[in-house]
């Protein structure tokens, strides 16, 4: 925590959790998709579902999906901007199990045909936490540079990836691995102390058994 967590952020109101955090959830989902989203189906859980409308949560999530920051004064008008940019979206209430009351589950389709499902929560102060990726449990906040690797569940994938990170001089802060089932697909989430370059991501993408690689870099407003 620093002084500008106390005085700040500069944000579009009315709520750091339901508005600023919701923008960040959208931004995180967009960043993880890695391409321009063209379709978004958004499920809202708990307090996001019941009080989201009054807090502008819907507009905030769409704004984030379009790449706007929490302090962008276009946040309230994001629906019109989505129409301009060709992003179609739906919102529905839902009940998720064992998640924070301020949570959303977003299914995205990208302009290049990519698909991604992201579940994230906004527990307060504008901070967020991703709890699900493509049906698999995970937990990361985007406070650190984060590498998300979809890999097949086979021996050696983790060591190849961490070897590559070591070769690029990146220190692993945290590492999580979850799989759907034995021999199926798995998701590795690696938080690093240094920014992860596109070259690093490209090299990891080329490794055997790796299906998809996304990196998330925290920005001034991000996470």
């Amino acid at each position: 925590m620093n002084l500008f967590d106390i005085l700040g952020p500069v944000m579009v109101g009315p709520s750091s959790s339901h508005t600023a955090g919701a923008v960040r959830i959208g931004r995180m989902a967009r960043s993880l998709l890695g391409q321009e989203p063209v379709k978004a189906d958004i499920l809202l859980h708990g307090s996001f579902a019941s009080t989201g409308e009054g807090h502008g949560t819907h507009q905030a999530i769409i704004a984030g999906l379009l790449g706007l920051a929490p302090d962008d004064s276009r946040v309230p008008d994001s629906f019109a901007l989505a129409k301009e940019r060709g992003l179609r979206f739906t919102f529905s209430p839902c009940t998720l199990r064992d998640v924070h009351p301020n949570s959303a589950l977003i299914t995205l389709e990208g302009a290049q045909g990519g698909r991604l499902e992201v579940g994230a929560s906004s527990p307060g102060g504008g901070r967020i936490r991703v709890f699900r990726l493509d049906g698999l449990d995970t937990s990361f906040t985007g406070a650190l540079p984060t590498l998300v690797v979809h890999n097949s569940d086979q021996p050696g994938c983790v060591s190849k990836v961490t070897r590559a990170l070591a070769d690029w001089g990146l220190n692993v802060a945290t590492l999580q691995l979850n799989r759907g089932g034995r021999g199926g697909s798995a998701v590795m989430v690696i938080e690093c102390d240094q920014p992860i370059s596109q070259d690093t991501a490209q090299q990891i993408r080329a490794l055997p058994g790796i299906m998809r690689v996304t990196c998330y870099t925290p920005d001034e407003e991000g996470a």
């Binding site: 925590m1 620093n2 002084l3 500008f4 967590d5 106390i6 005085l7 700040g8 952020p9 500069v10 944000m11 579009v12 109101g13 009315p14 709520s15 750091s16 508005t19 600023a20 307090s47 579902a49 019941s50 009080t51 409308e53 009054g54 807090h55 502008g56 507009q59 302090d71 962008d72 004064s73 946040v75 309230p76 209430p93 009940t95 307060g124 102060g125 504008g126």
Partner: protein
């Protein structure tokens, strides 16, 4: 280095370093963020500018989503123009400023959370009218923001700045405490007086519950920014008069933490108790999904 774990440590460290309190707080921020004093100053300046822009973005015709909030900042300013107000021109400007910013937030304008979005009206409502009525340079206002955030850091560490955790005392109460210290700085008071003002402002809003109608940052949040600013001014004036907090400031913050934890969950931002649970409030209650 100031570690923001206690007000006493903050004051002692500033004294040991021979720095004015605001500058000692800035030094600690540079250390935390690994930035230069100039970079930190620039960021704080940007916060002040964002506050000024937010205040200027106010439109009396704006309404919040529920329609419950909007127009009161304009109403108060017009009442002030009549010249025959109860509280005088300075306090009327303070109250109008707090209402304007609270309404801006509720109407999805760009604001500065200070320390939270719901309490964003208190600090600008103190600093901007202060500059107008008593004369203060932008640099002095930025120094005051350092003082405010330093005390805010200690409040966050020892108690809370989250309504869901500690009730409204943690949001409006914290903003008032930060603002009280900032105003003492502008008035030329010393660090002990700033600490005393912070403590008195907290004490006088201790136990304030978070009971938003419909679970929204509208009612009573906007008007509580007014009482936060007025609480800050009365605490600052007491401190400038030489009145001290009998309970030491750090112990006041510990009491704030304890009171916050004792509040039932219905009175901690759930929209299920207090004003939210009145027959009027229930008309705006979210339908459970």
């Amino acid at each position: 280095m100031i570690d923001f774990t206690s007000i006493q440590q903050m004051l002692e460290q500033a004294r040991a370093d021979g720095l004015p309190l605001w500058d000692a707080i800035r030094q600690a921020d540079c250390h935390l963020q690994n930035i230069t004093p100039e970079q930190s100053w620039e960021k704080m300046h940007a916060m002040l500018d964002a506050m000024i822009q937010a205040d200027e973005s106010y439109r009396e015709s704006d309404r919040s989503h529920s329609g419950l909030v909007g127009g009161d900042g304009g109403r108060m300013a017009r009442y002030g123009q009549g010249g025959n107000t109860l509280c005088g021109p300075f306090l009327t400007d303070v109250m109008a400023g707090a209402l304007r910013m609270g309404e801006c937030n509720a109407c999805m304008k760009r604001i500065v959370a200070a320390p939270t979005a719901g309490a964003c009206g208190v600090l600008p409502a103190l600093l901007l009218p202060y500059a107008k009525h008593f004369g203060a340079t932008k640099d002095q206002l930025v120094q005051a923001l350092y003082v405010a955030s330093g005390f805010g850091m200690v409040i966050a560490a020892r108690a809370s700045i989250s309504g869901a955790e500690g009730g409204c005392q943690a949001e409006i109460g914290s903003a008032a405490a930060m603002g009280a210290a900032a105003v003492v700085h502008l008035q030329g008071g010393g660090p002990e007086q700033m600490a005393g003002a912070c403590a008195m402002a907290v004490k006088n809003l201790l136990g304030l519950v978070c009971d938003p109608v419909g679970g929204l940052v509208e009612v009573p949040c906007v008007k509580r920014n007014v009482i936060g600013a007025m609480d800050a001014l009365s605490a600052a004036q007491m401190a400038m008069a030489g009145i001290t907090s009998r309970v030491p400031p750090d112990q006041v913050l510990d009491a704030m933490a304890e009171v916050g934890h004792s509040l039932p969950h219905t009175l901690r931002e759930t929209g299920k108790g207090g004003l939210a649970a009145t027959p009027f409030g229930l008309e705006y209650a979210p339908k459970d999904l």
